[in-house]
Amino acid sequence: MNKHGDREPLIFELGKPGRRAPSQMPPPASSPLDLPAHLKRSAPPALPEVSELQAVRHFTRLSQLNFSIDTHFYPLGSCTMKYNPKACNSLAMLPEFLGRHPLAGEPQGFMACMFELQEMLRDITGMQAVSLTPMAGAQGEFAGVAMIRAYHRERQDDARREIIVPQAAHGTNPATAAMCGCTVREIPCDASGDIDLAALRAAVGPHTAGIMLTNPSTLGVFEHRIAEVARIVHEAGGLLYYDGANLNAILGKVRPGDMGFDVIHMNLHKTFSTPHGGGGPGSGAVGVGPRLVPYLPIPLVALKDGRYRWLSERDRPSSIGRLSGFMGNAGVNLRAYVYMRMLGREGMVRVGEFATLNANYLMKRLVQIGYEAAYPERRASHEFIITLKQEARRYQVTAMDVAKRLLDLGFHAPTTYFPLLVPECLLIEPTETETKEELDRFCDAMGIIRREMEQEPEKLRSAPHTMPVRRLDDVRAVKQPDLSFKPAA
């Protein structure tokens, strides 16, 4: 549906046999196609057949159906939906950068950017070396855990195959451990959101490969006793993995390396503001402490005798290898580089400060309105959790209902039902690029919703009302999967 009440048809439905966008067709071949018949396609693929205007209009109209940072406040927790500066995109799209084949030599200009990015990330994280190749957070995690395994293996300690993760960990943490052939042990958090140290002590042992931690945690609080956690795990022979998806919180304030972590991945598409693109691309650069340097994934950029070089298998024989066809999401890294140069040293520090200021302000205001913070006695980090368990009981409205109603009021919803251990939760991350006025408007909306809960809860349960579609039937989507358009025969 577009805003004028018509559903936007599928691009296939707009097509017609024989219709074309001729300007997009190269000149016809001048010789017959000389390929063996049994290798050839017999019927053309059922792609849409539309004019250029139809395609442009269709996708322009579709785009308008989205909420996005450029159009709406988007406080999606753990996703750091901050402003994506336009210059990051336009400079990464300079024709010389775009036109370069990844196997065509060693472009010194581009590589200078990548090298400096490695260096800046090294500094920010307090790590010893950085690799930019992982293509998103999860692949960064994979690289990290694979390095931990390589480390233990090279020390003939390969029985260490258990990865400890806190209950509240992001799903990618346990999934990554499994992809790396590890088993996962989950440990609980205490009432204030910190790790249960007794449980941790009980969990570690000679099977412990390492622990994966997010700090500030996905509960939106800073793990006080991080030094103690590090000590426990290190003494047990395990390594510490820092899930740096939430680096926005601590940029310039604390460095994971200083906290005792051996490896970190960063989500450049969060902290360093590269686009989220409707689901990606990301970049999950990894940094490592001294123990893991040899294992970093390749390629890396080195500076030798004033020339930038790609380091490959030959240079890095212990590397866990390659995780992508070339060098990861190069263009995403370039965008992060531009962003970091614009922020500069002072700007980095301010990111953490103002992200934290916004989160604490918003938390306080929502509590004043009557919402319940999951950890009221704690500082918010860059994000915080509201739990609606009272409201759920009292008014039979869920966190999902509130989320959907927020859409009606012009706000993207916070993250819902993550972390799962907090019932009916909303994980709210305003980021540093939003104004106080915008936060106040959000509070006004949450105030309206509070009144509606009491007075007309059905309005919430049946929300949204003003979106291109009403609430969608997810159960039917699973039970009767319709995953691709099938042209009428």
Binding site: F12, A21, M25, P26, L33, L35, R41, P45, L47, E49, V56, F59, L65, D70, Y83, N89, M93, L94, E96, L98, H101, P102, A104, P107, G109, F110, M120, R122, I124, G137, A138, R149, G171, A175, C180, G181, H224, H269, G278, G279, P281, I320, G325, F326, M327, M342, R345, M348, E353, T356, L357, N360, F418, T433, M467, V469, L472, D474, L483, S484
Partner: protein, 461 residues
């Protein structure tokens, strides 16, 4: 304060509400001894104008080469609407469509994308993307193992004619789960994988055979025979394909003579970059994957489905999420979360603009230009064609000397002349892999041939 909108007054009022005296106080839960010192390696802030100048100078320094390198990333014309649309803020700055009702744009685009990939590959379901072609093959191997009836089947037969970088990546990603990737040699005359090579491999404990079409040498494999052999031996078939080539080549869903559950490849994957994504020094690209409906629950990555809303109107939503890490955690089909959505948007617009007829034109132009390139280059003394088999848009040439210095000399003349195969294939010591797409004009090919002739002649003199 770049990108921070707070005025001094805002800060004061917000701190007052919070009840803190300073922003620093908000960090009081962080142990003092952990507080970071200043960031020495991060230079002072530059304004946009200064960064633009810096990047502009660096880009100018890199310049532009006349490109004849392929090897997994291909230069195609990208229609102007593709990135004009893809960089629209509503698409560029949205995230994963968790809130379906506020993300119908992205969701419908992915649904259309899935439909197009199914059409191209002749399969039934597509995911919403993986990171890139290489990692998509790794995921396909893991998926094949999961999908295979026999739990002990953890070997993957991987011809050497498959992109050797993909082999490296697949090894790095699947190794920890104990998968064994076993090389199969290619025929020295044709560059193809032969049934003889397959017969020589141990089938015991093998879960799948990988077939790349066109293969890394640009040569076309006998996909029907390979598929039939694999199915006859209860192996899954993983097809690695170039989506542009599918305008001309038999789609994986139709490979072989099987029918029903044995019809065609079981899993199809590949690099999506040729579909409207710029070369850009290697990324971001995207991996695609399609399969049959029966395998959908083993598929990694997000999937969008069409359903209805409260009022019965159609709408789109993420679905079958029980496969994914945020639901299934350590039991998920993959750890992938953020994917390559924006590039999928570009590919969807690209395929919409090209349509079946446009895509066929592009593919035919690739075949023709490459044939011309091979003709022109093999006329240069000291250059011979390596493999005689039918090809798509790449070819291996044998030079009468090591390739590396020749490539350097070409680069000095502004030409990226191809890929030196010596490192990856010790037996192909002086082999050069070249590629020509629809972007190459006759004069480009002439320029390449003339430069090559000149370089070889001068080196001889």
């Amino acid at each position: 304060m770049p990108f921070i909108p707070h005025t001094a007054d805002d800060v004061a009022r917000m701190l007052e509400v919070i009840g803190a005296r300073s922003i620093d106080e908000l960090f009081d839960e962080i142990p003092a001894d952990l507080k970071a010192s200043s960031l020495g390696a991060v230079p002072a802030s530059l304004c946009e104008m200064e960064v633009a100048r810096l990047l502009g100078d660096r880009a100018a320094r890199d310049g532009r080469l006349l490109n004849f390198v392929g090897a997994g990333a291909y230069e195609h014309h990208i229609p102007a609407p593709v990135w004009a649309i893809t960089t629209r803020g509503e698409l560029y700055s949205a995230y994963t469509p968790y809130q379906a009702e506020a993300s119908q744009g992205t969701l419908q685009i992915i649904y259309e994308y899935q439909s197009m990939m199914c059409a191209l590959t002749a399969m039934e379901v597509s995911n919403a993307s993986l990171y890139d072609g290489a990692s998509a093959l790794a995921e396909a191997c893991l998926m094949a193992v999961r999908a295979h009836r026999a739990p002990e089947a953890r070997r993957i037969l991987l011809p050497r004619s498959v992109n050797p970088i993909y082999e490296r990546v697949a090894r790095a990603i699947t190794g920890h789960q104990g998968l064994a990737l076993e090389p199969l040699d290619y025929d020295r005359a044709t560059g193809c994988t032969t049934i003889a090579a397959l017969e020589a491999a141990a089938v015991q404990g093998a879960a799948a055979l990988v077939i790349q079409q066109p293969n890394f040498f640009g040569v076309l494999e006998d996909v029907d025979a390979l598929t039939d052999w694999a199915h006859a031996h209860e192996l899954k078939v993983i097809a690695v394909v170039n989506p542009i080539s599918l305008a001309l080549l038999k789609p994986p869903g139709e490979w072989g003579s099987g029918s029903g559950a044995l019809k065609g490849a079981d899993i199809v994957c590949g690099e999506g970059q040729p579909l409207g994504v710029p070369l850009a020094s290697g990324g971001p690209y995207f991996g695609f994957m399609t399969t049959r409906m029966q395998n959908v629950r083993q598929m990694p990555g997000r999937i969008v489905g069409r359903t209805v809303d409260l009022e019965g109107r159609p709408g789109f939503t993420l679905t079958l999420q029980a496969r994914e890490q945020h639901i299934r955690r350590s039991k998920a089909t993959s750890n992938i979360c953020t994917n390559q959505g924006l590039l999928v948007t570009a590919a969807t617009v690209y395929l919409s603009l090209l349509g079946p007829a446009g895509l066929e034109r592009v593919a035919r132009a690739c075949v023709e230009r490459t044939a011309e390139l091979v003709r022109a280059l093999t006329r240069v003394p000291g250059v011979r064609l390596r493999f005689a088999a039918p090809r798509f848009h790449e070819a291996v040439l044998d030079l009468d000397r090591p390739v590396a210095p020749v490539l350097e000399a070409l680069a000095a003349r502004g030409i990226a002349g191809g890929l030196d195969l010596a490192e990856r294939y010790p037996e192909l010591k002086s082999a050069l892999l070249v590629c020509a797409t629809e972007t190459k004009l006759p004069e480009d090919i002439e320029r390449f041939a003339a430069a090559l002739a000149d370089i070889l002649r001068k080196a001889d003199a």
